[in-house]
């Protein structure tokens, strides 16, 4: 698997898109830090961008990579390599290279800004860690979608829908249900609903750490009250890990049964 990972990773590192993605974050980091000068605000703005953009890029890139490398995959399938290694290797290659663009792209401006001497280092690290998690989660989901759809257009369609649902529609439904059932105790419901969407979960995680959960309104308050910051943090991480492992398991299972 490591060999496949290595080659997928190299392949992507040479593609133009990795650089575009990297430069985008570099630019974003520079602009936010040096024109804004308020680290905490910069982190929040970055969070808002990351939480929407990272899943989108992860999904699109994952689906695109899978469909583009189909013939190459067939070449690999004829080699004495385990099937699961091929797909898990490719998935990890894509996810790792995307995460690296994010971490390095944002890391540079922050390092130059002097993040190591600042108290915001933990907030910033958390931001990068959740960003990397989101990349791994959505790339895995994209691979599951691409593996189960032979038709490219359908695959892209489902991938975009997934992103739209997780990043936008889910929040809308969540909010509506909160309003609709406002006469009932909703603590557990909103807690569960947040856990079930990695985008919301990441947002809550960062906001909890920033101690500005008031900004988030009800969800954040519930989280603060129920878990206290530390337990909430651990639980959220466990959930994020599950969000990576479950789709990865599906990649493994679908790949095992698929015809090429």
């Amino acid at each position: 698997m490591l060999k496949i990972l290595k080659y997928s990773f190299y392949d992507l590192m040479r593609s133009r898109w990795s650089y575009v993605y990297f430069l985008f974050y570099l630019l974003l980091g520079v602009v936010l830090l040096f024109l804004n000068n308020d680290l905490s605000k910069a982190v929040i703005t970055l969070m808002n961008v990351i939480i929407i953009l990272v899943p989108l890029i992860g999904t699109i890139f994952g689906v695109m990579y899978y469909y583009n490398s189909r013939e190459f995959t067939e070449l690999l399938l004829a080699q004495p390599v385990k099937r699961s290694s091929i797909f898990l290797g490719q998935y990890l290659g894509v996810a790792t290279s995307l995460s690296m663009s994010l971490v390095i792209g944002l890391g540079f401006p922050f390092v130059f800004y002097g993040i190591f001497n600042s108290s915001a280092i933990w907030d910033f690290s958390l931001l990068l860690i959740t960003g990397a998690f989101l990349t791994f989660i959505f790339t895995a989901l994209a691979f599951v979608i691409a593996l189960s759809n032979e038709n490219k257009i359908k695959g892209f369609g489902y991938a975009i829908l997934l992103w739209l649902f997780m990043a936008v529609i889910y929040d809308g439904l969540f909010l509506m249900s909160l309003l609709y059932f406002e006469d009932y105790p909703l603590d557990k419901f909103s807690l569960g609903a947040t856990m079930l969407n990695p985008v919301d979960l990441s947002r809550v995680l960062i906001l909890l750490k920033l101690d500005i959960s008031a900004l988030l309104g009800y969800t954040g308050a519930v989280f603060q009250k129920f878990f206290g910051t530390n337990f909430g943090l651990v639980l959220s991480f466990v959930m994020l890990v599950c969000w990576v492992i479950i789709p990865t398991f599906f990649i493994w299972r679908i790949a095992k049964k698929k015809d090429f």
Binding site: E74, L75, D259
Partner: protein, 236 residues
């Protein structure tokens, strides 16, 4: 060497292989023929483990292929469509496949020489023409020394001189006692190289034997007409 027992495969409603029994012995060139959609590629891919049959069993040298991948070390496969990761250079692709197969004893240099690929070694695969890609494909297939070679439409896109070189290459491999499976629509090519042909029709083996036997069976004077008579009989 290869033992295929009652293989069935459906893609959705389309039943591609309807019970194939075939045994292929060590040594010699076997051509798998058949009209478009008769299941040639599916059969080959089943041997490679890329397509998983719904029922039936395939074994190579007495070992079942199910849940195994190591056996592919002994197969050199030439896929039908040569498409490689565009960002790689030819040289890097060759190194990569060698690395993946953990194989050091290869004759890639001679093959590169043979197909005159030196000027392309440092070019990216995306910039190569279809024929050149097919040559790279051939190098990747023939550079290993596996006892079984599977070629899916090996002649597609090749110029006459490369075609000739390919033929010589196939004969040289045969002399080493290897088993070679070929699919092709170019009947003159098949007639020249094949020791035995397997004719697939609608997912079943219609004929297996030598070309002379086929001519006798169809009572046609030449190979092309023999094939044509099978096809027109089945479509009539």
């Amino acid at each position: 060497m290869i033992e295929i027992k009652d293989i069935h495969k459906k893609f959705g409603k389309n039943e591609v292989l309807k019970g194939i029994d075939l045994s292929i012995n060590q040594g010699g060139i076997f051509a798998i023929l058949g009209p478009n959609g008769s299941g040639k590629t599916t059969l080959i891919k089943s041997i490679l483990g890329m397509v998983l049959p719904d029922s039936g069993e395939i074994s190579i040298n007495g070992k079942s292929l199910k849940n195994s991948f190591k056996y592919r070390e002994n197969i050199d496969y030439l896929p039908q469509i040569a498409n490689f990761p565009g960002n790689l250079k030819v040289k890097e692709l060759i190194e990569m496949i060698k690395d993946l197969r953990n194989s050091k004893a290869t004759n890639d240099r001679e093959l590169i020489e043979l197909f005159k690929l030196q000027p392309f070694l440092n070019k990216k695969l995306v910039n190569l023409s279809g024929g050149t890609k097919q040559k790279v494909n051939l190098v990747l297939t023939f550079m290993f020394d596996g006892p079984l070679i599977i070629l899916d439409e090996p002649t597609s896109g090749l110029d006459p001189i490369s075609h000739l070189r390919l033929k010589n290459l196939i004969f040289a491999e045969k002399k080493k006692g290897k088993t070679i499976l070929v699919t092709s629509h170019i009947l003159s090519f098949v007639e020249e190289i094949a020791d035995e042909i397997v004719f697939l029709l609608e997912g079943k083996i219609y004929f297996k034997g030598s070309i002379t036997e086929l001519k006798l069976k169809t009572s046609q004077p030449d190979f092309e007409h023999a094939i044509a008579s099978i096809l027109s009989a089945s479509y009539a």
